[in-house]
Amino acid sequence: MSKRVAIIAANGTLFDAYKVFNIATAAAASEAEVGIFFTFEGLNLIHKEAHKQLPLPPGKEAMKEMLAQANIPSIPQLLDMAKELGVRLTACQMSMDIMNIKEQDLIDGIDVAGAAAFLDFAYDADVTLTF
């Protein structure tokens, strides 16, 4: 039985994106079954436009240079890798309603569901993380 990793992405800065997608791709590359549930600001990470220009956390804007110089993939690249590795991406219906985000505002290849669906996945997870 392969390991299952459940991740809740509840925040939407560039750092949060790296935290979520780095661990998701590393887990998926290690043959784990990975599911990410995007809620509230986390929806930024799968928003068609926003995910390409995620903000840095307040006070950390100076790190933009350092990040550009470090040899790390961009968020759109990491997202593609995650999808390629079979990571399941689920958007929280309720957050979408509150923030007035429509399904067509989000990238392709995602599901929309609620807390119950995520919990069903997370009950059998070996690891559950929140970022």
Partner: protein, 75 residues
């Protein structure tokens, strides 16, 4: 040591060495050996951990001039 495929992951940081290793392995047959080179310090622990999770066998591991080399046999 002999290898069937060589992956150059030097200069790449986490999670790329592991992601690329998995992709390279997917194209190989059981029993074949993948030689991975990486410079990311995290890779020192990541590659063996990945090999274990993915049920491959880490045959050999060396370090030369800051380059970590791994020979992993597909399980």
């Amino acid at each position: 040591m002999d290898r069937d495929k060589w992956l150059d992951a030097t200069g790449l940081s986490c999670p790329m060495p592991v992601v690329k290793s998995k992709k390279a392995m997917d194209e190989m047959a059981a029993g074949q050996v993948l030689e991975i080179h990486a410079t990311d310090k995290g890779a020192l622990k990541d590659i063996p951990a990945w090999a274990k999770s993915a049920r491959h066998v880490l045959l050999k591991q060396t370090e030369e001039n800051g380059v970590y080399k791994f020979w992993v046999q597909k399980g």
